[in-house]
Symmetry: D2
Subunit: 432 residues, 4 copies
Amino acid sequence: MKLNLDQLKDINSKSLDLHQVELDILSQKLDKKGINAEDIIKDITELQVATPSWALGTGATRFGRFPGGGEPATLEEKIGDVGILKQLCGQTSSISLHIPWDVPDNAEDVKDLAASYGLRFDSMNSNTFMDDPRGLNTPKGLSYKYGSMCNSEEAIREQSIQHNIDVIEYGKRLGSDSLTVWLADGSNYPGQANFRRQFENVQNSLREIYKAMPEDWYMFTEHKPYEPNFYSTVNNDWGSNLLLAKGTGERCLCLVDLGHHLPNTNIEQVVSRVIMEKRLAGFHFNDSKYSDDDLTVGSLKPYQLFLIFNELVEYMKGDDKQANELAWMIDASHNTKDPMEDLLQSFDAIALAYGQALSIPRATLTEAQMNNDVAGGQEIIQDAYRTDVRPLVREARMRQGAAFSPLQAYRELGVRKELINQRGTRVAVTGL
Amino acid sequence: MKLNLDQLKDINSKSLDLHQVELDILSQKLDKKGINAEDIIKDITELQVATPSWALGTGATRFGRFPGGGEPATLEEKIGDVGILKQLCGQTSSISLHIPWDVPDNAEDVKDLAASYGLRFDSMNSNTFMDDPRGLNTPKGLSYKYGSMCNSEEAIREQSIQHNIDVIEYGKRLGSDSLTVWLADGSNYPGQANFRRQFENVQNSLREIYKAMPEDWYMFTEHKPYEPNFYSTVNNDWGSNLLLAKGTGERCLCLVDLGHHLPNTNIEQVVSRVIMEKRLAGFHFNDSKYSDDDLTVGSLKPYQLFLIFNELVEYMKGDDKQANELAWMIDASHNTKDPMEDLLQSFDAIALAYGQALSIPRATLTEAQMNNDVAGGQEIIQDAYRTDVRPLVREARMRQGAAFSPLQAYRELGVRKELINQRGTRVAVTGL
Amino acid sequence: MKLNLDQLKDINSKSLDLHQVELDILSQKLDKKGINAEDIIKDITELQVATPSWALGTGATRFGRFPGGGEPATLEEKIGDVGILKQLCGQTSSISLHIPWDVPDNAEDVKDLAASYGLRFDSMNSNTFMDDPRGLNTPKGLSYKYGSMCNSEEAIREQSIQHNIDVIEYGKRLGSDSLTVWLADGSNYPGQANFRRQFENVQNSLREIYKAMPEDWYMFTEHKPYEPNFYSTVNNDWGSNLLLAKGTGERCLCLVDLGHHLPNTNIEQVVSRVIMEKRLAGFHFNDSKYSDDDLTVGSLKPYQLFLIFNELVEYMKGDDKQANELAWMIDASHNTKDPMEDLLQSFDAIALAYGQALSIPRATLTEAQMNNDVAGGQEIIQDAYRTDVRPLVREARMRQGAAFSPLQAYRELGVRKELINQRGTRVAVTGL
Amino acid sequence: MKLNLDQLKDINSKSLDLHQVELDILSQKLDKKGINAEDIIKDITELQVATPSWALGTGATRFGRFPGGGEPATLEEKIGDVGILKQLCGQTSSISLHIPWDVPDNAEDVKDLAASYGLRFDSMNSNTFMDDPRGLNTPKGLSYKYGSMCNSEEAIREQSIQHNIDVIEYGKRLGSDSLTVWLADGSNYPGQANFRRQFENVQNSLREIYKAMPEDWYMFTEHKPYEPNFYSTVNNDWGSNLLLAKGTGERCLCLVDLGHHLPNTNIEQVVSRVIMEKRLAGFHFNDSKYSDDDLTVGSLKPYQLFLIFNELVEYMKGDDKQANELAWMIDASHNTKDPMEDLLQSFDAIALAYGQALSIPRATLTEAQMNNDVAGGQEIIQDAYRTDVRPLVREARMRQGAAFSPLQAYRELGVRKELINQRGTRVAVTGL
């Protein structure tokens, strides 16, 4: 299914009455701060965020899953859904696969199909946190019940290394150039495991996988403090993640998921630290109030999202070229929303936070900081946050032929209804 | 499967060399504090904790499930497993059913079977947090995706009331006398729902269910701050729970699950408050470090468990007769342990904490408190906690013909091996 | 010191170039949602927030205090500072006194002075959490080291009752009509105290104080989970606070301080609950990331502040007349900012959050909620939050003759410099 | 004041009736696990924990201080108090000074006095988190209001370096061989500071101080997530601390304070990580429920304390010789207890946790872990924890001529009464 662009244009046209004047005033206001609105529009356009293949179906908690209708049942259908998202918001042009949930049996065809939507393949995700019922992630037939790369049994460690190498192979055929490793390894009880031995096992396993990567690939490791293990995890925080990355190799970088932190963590500072150490891989965007809640980006803590983008903009506008290659991905779970609506809201929130962060006058901010002007520094930051930059985001979208308001267009176009017509109401997707 | 009691006795006999002398010394030490060891042994024996039917199989997280072998596939097999636990530790003599996971098709037979193991049926658990694939909890065929009793749609609220009434009916046939209501109702996003309207819907629904209960039944409501809803829940904390209970009726009481609290909550104080308001129903025992981790009782925060029992003992030894009818249940999830081993460790931890709390010299403690003797009060409490009361727990078990060390006996008797022989290695249980 | 209003007008005039067109466009946009901008301007003008007398000096942590210059040393000077704030932002027209820090020796004079600035006296704050070195809060000379109203010693409980009655007397003379009771009572160690006995002592003491209040006075009780006691507090959460208020009398209401909650608490839901029970007294505004950090309002979690105002607006626009008498106060600690700047930023954040909440189209929101439109409900809420309502706040201020940008005007007018000239650089204020 | 050892012996003799038989049985039980009780007694005896000079007076919160009587007013009196503690429990033989609170004007005399009590000087603590009223930590007269080593002003950074060098000089004269650097540096508001710039300033400052240390000295840096700064700190977590230590030099190590972690942090794993990286300096012992509560060691989370000692014992019994030089110190605040009683309870808790950890059969534990025996590993750990090792601790104390029960002896000997006789009831101590 592809959207009719004329229809989209028609829908847009109904919303434009105040747009141009809002954009003009905003441009004037930014100009007074020495900020060029056109530059921000351009930057917003260029920030392309990957859609994960597993995010197109209804998510679940351990307490059940309430599937919606018209969900994609195949990789091909998932690619089609990302194509629709791209048409609507213009902010996503790649898809991130999870093996074994989305094994691309015919890589060439899949690649061609994606290209027909203007999509390419982002980072490949391996899975050693569950035993695939078909055995697709357990080449030796061994269980990950007690961990994968941290396991005290060598054969299981070797199996998890092999699975990651298999995933790299799939990725090579699809044109991906990075491997994302999130592992659930850890322990549920004091006494169950030795922290150091587990860490060393994981470290050694990552080195083996790293050796098997092509020389232009990157490895991304992702930390998480708990769940599904509830006493300890091996890659538990940014400190451990940094040790693992440094211990693995130069092209091993740290991925930050916004929901993988202890209560009250200053995540923007974590981002600053990892940037300082030249090891930031990129982001798994979502939002949360309590735990790894995997909610829509920007739905609970929009100011935190803005402060994170404040760090990122400082990095991206600096001298380090690596900053241009950050991996952006959404990683949310849509338990009670239409997945496509959830993703559209998430892309919107990302663009807004980015636009706000781009409108901070950096030299003025630095001056306040050098003068220990506490209230002044806050004022500069909050002025940018309080400014409504939606006109810039809308303009960026419309210049690409996308929607003024993607969610509204999605509804007016009856996309979900059409997908249900095509696919039926109760299709099970792979994934969590 | 029933255990051979002679074999159990043999196993016990190997551990007894120091038992009597330890028991003697402990009794002398307690005696100095004015505590009678025999009384504690008797109290420990009488504290019977229900086993939930869903706790006999391997648990899961949203990231997967790693089933063990020999799991019970039917309600009858689950009853059998509880029978074994009873033989081993003597601390559990009832089973708590969850509908629709364990619908007792032939209530009389089930009741007789349980009786043959010396078991009766504890509180009945309804389920309106998922849509049963067979429709067993959705008599009107409506989904609980957006909540059950809180739902803005009247028909869904009525359906959830009806399901609870159905559960009461099952319970009546089994000889149960209480209904436990945990509902996942809440919201994932600001704006999704109106807190007050949701609360009132739940309150009104509970009243309807309450009316349908026999006059000697109790209703237990259980609060939880989040999961599976991640922004708000309707019955979110003890304050809300108390309002709901008082708004429902005299026989509506508050159940406390140890994992259902925000970080750093002083749970023993929550217990004190609910007791003070004469609304404590009882407990769902488990342990956790981060969230609703559902770990083995006493495995992470044994001192907190002891402090909770300190409150309970004060209540149970007081004048309020309701204190003798507290509902005790384990509610843990055994993701990486043999479920039977996990339960045996849990029963053990409960008995220990209870025994320690019973050994607090209450008059001495009160005196220190009345004198504002801060260090002294702590000293009295910690002396009780630091005392190894395992000889009392072992004695209590052995006098009932149970095991000196239940976990060790379970292993030496090869129970799991035998269950695998009987049931095979990959039997799926119902439940989470 | 009073500000020169002509000078203020001059400063304003420099910022007005885009103001009117921004205001017009915003009004049009609100109009489309069925919201009248003029109504919001009026409501913002009417929301008057009390300034606490202790907030005009530099705050401290237990690790030290770094006083700024020109701090007010007397109650008279503090009243003058509030007068300046009123002139600058038009949002504060009352002052809240803390006894023993600000004993008004000559009540009539103090009242007249305040009136000359257009100020009256808000809620009176008693203090039983420290021993005043002059003995002003310990009429019997007894220490509050082990608690005040919870104390096991009757004489200390009586003393704390007497102190509160003394505070009521001061308040009567000043024209106040409410007493705010925050007490530090609790315990540092398990074993130190009996939760229930402490609670009952506090409950009984509050009843005594309540009896001594004039019939048109209100009592406000304020909960806090920890600090300065670190194991338990007596009035620890909204549930306990509600029990105390209901147990005291009809005119005993619950005060909510934004920093007095456990990690991850859904504070807007707490507000909804207390409103539902008709016991909301009002607010102590501040912000925090970790604990009771007492930071500038809106500086860390502006979305939470907005969601709280969402609850309040629903209440204030409803039928309950009590909603018009909410007590609004700032209670922050300015450790590294100029206190006046901190307060101006706080007033600004409150007006913004209120304005945003007033711009939510309530009927549309309710419709989405009744239809279980999860994404739609979020969209409505976030649209209001993302709208820059600063033009309304500025307009409200300027119509009162206050500043377009109070912080900027404060700096341009050189207020602090002038205060330092008058008062010197190292004046110690009373308070924390 | 020195205690009369005969009197102590007399008091001990009243408690000995069951001691020997308890010790014998415990020894037999340990022996069965392959553990030698005599070895544990020896190890307990050798674990000497420093007493900080500021812990001998009543502590404070920002809400006030309730001084007790007989507090030491001079460094000489503080040394005397530590001498008493040493006599009572035999576990402390050094004192840790905080400059500027305890400037040793005549180092030789002070050193001799300490030696007369069998005491030496442990790590020296610098202070750049407050402005000493006498200017003792601000050699250039500049304020630390906006930070010390992180400050944007070079002169303030230089001043804080100079203060640390001054502290080293004092330490050299007293025979100390390490400098402990805890700094409050950070920010209260987003926008106030640049995370990276602050970090680099601190890093560079530490390098300067490091250069000024004698070659056999160590530098200890201590992390803390918040307070007195409430948005960010520079040395916020173990990850940042490790970066700073590695960036400073080989003899810069990481100190762990038990209260300086975010909610739910797995502190024992933090310890394991820092050990793994060969950067553990040692500990600041205390306990907490919510925040940096500075409560008596082992009073809230005794199991966590045991699990930390489990990591330490593994380290101390391993091959790394650095493990023998760990710096042990108590850092608690005694707000409502007699400071000496608080310290005695703390020493007791440390000895118990250490004794329990020493009684873990390590080879058996490793075997369970290698076999993925989850329940078995927990069982081994908990068996050690549940064992009452107080007979070993008492034996260790009595063999040194110290008290069977130090707290009880302290009370029976009337130590505080005697100190009040000597020093009066209201002596102010320096410190927090």
